[in-house]
Subunit: 199 residues, 2 copies
């Protein structure tokens, strides 16, 4: 990385948690200057506008969250075990930055606002759904999962339950809702395996 | 209602959707003046500060959402039917104002910020959990629901799944995630009834 690229990356690392905690409108230029220790001109040398910085900071935050949530996933054998691992990782992995899930924060923050951020959140969500749906499809092909299970439904249920539970857990300041969600999702996953042949 | 009370109520009705769509920081005094057609002084005659207006607007929005989601609930007989109705109502009732669920919006908006709003969101969430947990407890007492079912777990799972699905549905602009959540939650509810005695 060139010196310029390093500075750019450092600005993203410092700005991303601020945007993640305060949202786009709640994060002022002064907040960003305080966090990065740079003057406005120093930030604008690397990003055209607050909008561009917010968009790049979201991509940075989401990359880290996805990496954190999928860490070692490819080392888990079998689709069912992988799906359970996705749930466990979301619930148990220590967060990569303060403020909660960047995807949910940006989805809620931008659903009636900033179209660039909204578009990025939509892509992030769609990618996540695809990753889970692919695990389900692979499970169906491997006869680990019933043929009539709809991958999209499983993906929507897992993501909805985890994100909603994170919202509750953050409000309550305990992990209880996340543990409850994990138990419910594991029960749900129990129901999608082929039933054992009757003896 | 006195004329002053009527004006106050009208300001809340006009400000609540703006806060619900843009969040506390994203909603300027100018936005509120535009929405209400009042000068700043006219608004401040009824509310001490933007913080107080936001808090009262949240309470107004949440009251309407709760009323909408519990409409006719007492006319449904049986706890299981009531629980299914809670899910259906959330998924199918037309929203009372633009911007999505005021509880989730405020929870995400205020989890790292405004302590007054955060406290109100926490109370709203706790009340909602209690309402659902009470339905489960009544079902257990009436032997409609298994004795070993934990009311809090059911409440957390229902709220998490519905709120997360609403976030996905609003991002995608379709009701698909909400329908998937409804199907999953109904499957989950199927599992909490006592199993029929073996013949």
């Amino acid at each position: 990385m060139s010196k310029g690229e390093l500075t750019r990356e450092r600005i993203l690392a410092q700005a991303a948690p601020i945007f993640n905690q305060r949202g786009f409108a709640g994060c002022s230029m002064q907040d960003l200057m305080d966090a990065t220790g740079l003057e406005k001109g120093g930030i604008y040398r690397h990003f055209e506008s607050k909008e561009e910085l917010a968009a790049e900071a979201f991509k940075y935050a989401l990359r880290r969250a996805v990496k954190n949530r999928t860490e070692d996933l490819e080392r888990i054998a079998g689709s069912m075990a992988k799906l359970r691992y996705v749930v466990t990782r979301f619930v148990e992995a220590p967060p990569t930055m303060p403020g909660g899930c960047p995807l949910m924060n940006t989805a809620i923050d931008a659903d009636d606002g900033n179209p660039a951020l909204r578009k990025l959140a939509k892509i992030g969500l769609s990618d996540w759904k695809k990753r889970i749906a692919t695990l389900v499809e692979q499970g169906i092909q491997a006869h680990e999962i019933r043929q009539d299970v709809e991958p999209r439904k499983i993906a929507n249920t897992i993501i909805a339950t985890l994100e909603g539970a994170l919202m509750i857990s953050r409000m309550e300041g305990t992990k209880e809702a996340l543990s409850d969600a994990s138990a419910s999702l594991n029960n749900m996953l129990d129901t999608i395996v082929p039933t054992a042949p009757k003896k």
